[in-house]
């Protein structure tokens, strides 16, 4: 074949050159690379875990929001010549006719006492304890009636009542959801910045340790961007692999927690869905991108300073 032909023509006797593939120009440094892999993997693990926590808390918050938004509570104060129960019943009737209300139900004394039990203890509620007369209103989740409409309906019936549409709690839930998102985003940015700094540091160290190689490359006519490209590729691949390890570890841990927590996720407060684990997939890519940018910028700036 080609090799024999080459031999008979008196070309190089050794066939090794026929299979030759260019070797990486930067020598690998096993110890240092392992340490770097570990650090980047740990950072990616943390990033994935915080993304999972963000997704889960977002889901929890929207669950609470749905529950709170779908109901309202009305407290009725009976006027003279009317018992509390009668007033509550009248209120329930009036509220049931408001568009956007699915159901309105007056809480009778037994149900109200049940609500107080956790605080006062069963059987400890005196018969003459004034208990607020409540109407629970279930709203149409798609088009919930607002507090003003409910109040107007009650006023029309001449009832003295206060409407609580839970908007105060909704605001709290929204605020805490925004806080979790904010903290999560800052965390993700910090992790990315830390990864970038670690890679920049490694590039700096690599350039210093390989000064001899860099000089030979320069004198052989290599441009700064050729040399920076070597570090860029090297660290991008390393970070992608490390990112893979970190993401995998996070997914395994989260999946474990998810399956231990039963059908509702690992805690009722942080309901993680199986599909949330997909969020770990871009992690190796993001790590590679951060590493590539950090390595290139560092190498270019260091090389640009030499004369």
């Amino acid at each position: 074949m080609a090799a024999n032909e080459a031999r008979t023509r008196g070309d190089p006797q050794d066939d090794a050159w026929m299979d030759w593939r260019p070797a990486p120009l930067l020598p690998t440094q096993d110890g240092r690379d392992r340490a770097l892999t570990f650090v980047v993997a740990a950072l990616c693990f943390l990033a994935c875990m915080s993304v999972f926590a963000m997704l889960a808390s977002g889901r929890a918050a929207s669950g609470w929001r749905r529950e709170l938004g779908a109901s309202a509570t009305v407290q009725v104060r009976p006027k003279a010549g009317e018992t509390g129960s009668e007033a509550a019943a009248r209120a329930a009737e009036a509220l049931a006719g408001v568009p956007g209300v699915q159901e309105a139900q007056a809480l009778d004394r037994a149900a109200a006492e049940k609500l107080l039990e956790p605080w006062l203890g069963k059987g400890n509620i005196p018969d003459d304890l004034p208990i607020p007369h409540l109407v629970t209103v279930e709203l149409d989740p798609a088009h919930p009636a607002n507090a003003a409409a409910l109040t107007a309906a009650l006023d029309a019936e001449g009832l003295d009542a206060t409407v609580d549409d839970h908007s105060r709690w909704m605001k709290d839930v929204e605020a805490s959801g925004a806080a979790v998102r904010g903290i999560g985003s800052i965390g993700a940015l910090l992790v990315a910045a830390a990864a970038g700094a670690v890679i920049a540091f490694a590039t700096r160290a690599g350039l210093a340790a390989r000064r001899d190689v860099v000089e030979v490359l320069h004198l052989s006519g290599a441009r700064d961007r050729f040399i920076a490209g070597l570090f860029q590729r090297r660290f991008a691949f390393l970070a992608a692999r490390a990112g893979g390890y970190g993401a995998l570890a996070a997914v395994v841990l989260a999946a474990l927690a998810r399956s231990l927590g039963g059908s509702n996720g690992f805690t009722p407060a942080l309901p993680l869905a199986w599909t949330d684990l997909v969020a770990a997939v871009p992690c190796p890519l993001a790590a590679a991108l951060v590493a590539a940018v950090a390595a290139r910028r560092t190498a270019m700036s260091i090389l640009g300073q030499t004369t």
Partner: protein
């Protein structure tokens, strides 16, 4: 030309090499041969004075313009400067890779060149496993692989026996015949004399043109 605040190593050098010429550069150890070569192969900048290469002043050239010129210059470094983590083959292929060529376009050329310098059976050997003479030949192969217009060698026969010296000299002469301007620093008087090529002699930071016979023996 000076290093830091030390006295000038080279002063008042006025040298012009005709394209396609072949010169030896001689001088006692420490005379500044390597320093002069470094100025020419663009590893150092002169502290004062002008250097013209390829019809342009390169003494004040901006950094970004250097790589292009360096690719037209082949250098055999005094200390070889081989990359120890790369095979002989990869070392020779290096300037071609830097020039952006594809492996399939130069694989055979590199193999033939390695064969020519007597490393045909050591193509995939790592430099630390090579003898001094083999490293020298490898460094020469790397310098000539791009067919440079200027070929500079710093003591290229320092580690080889007289027979190999002659063979390597023939390699340089062949490159010169193909059009390269060749400048070789050497203190190998026998080789210089055998070559019959013109000699540039460095003393006291100054350059003297001489014929091989008129150069006084050193050390």
């Amino acid at each position: 030309m000076r290093y830091g605040r030390a006295p000038e190593v080279l002063k008042d050098i006025n040298l012009s090499l005709a394209p396609g010429s072949f010169h030896f550069l001689t001088g006692a150890s420490g005379a500044g041969k390597s320093s002069l070569l470094k100025l020419i192969y663009l590893a150092h900048r002169p502290s004062r004075g002008l250097i013209h290469l390829f019809n342009q002043d390169v003494s004040t050239l901006e950094r970004a313009a250097l790589p292009k010129l360096r690719r037209r210059i082949g250098v055999v470094f005094q200390e070889f400067s081989l990359l120890d983590h790369l095979s002989a083959f990869d070392n020779v292929a290096l300037p071609l890779r830097i020039a952006g060529m594809r492996p399939d376009d130069y694989r055979k050329d590199v193999a033939e060149l390695l064969e020519w310098v007597g490393l045909g059976r050591r193509m995939l050997a790592m430099p630390p496993t090579l003898s001094g003479g083999e490293k020298q030949r490898l460094a020469i192969a790397r310098a000539v692989v791009v067919r440079p217009e200027i070929l500079i060698a710093d003591e290229p026969t320092g580690n080889v026996d007289p027979d190999m010296s002659l063979r390597l000299l023939r390699l340089f002469v062949e490159m010169n015949r193909l059009g390269a301007t060749v400048l070789i620093a050497s203190h190998d008087q026998t080789l210089v004399r055998q070559s019959g090529m013109p000699v540039l002699h460095l003393t006291d930071g100054r350059l003297v043109r001489a014929q091989p016979e008129r150069v006084s023996p050193q050390e």
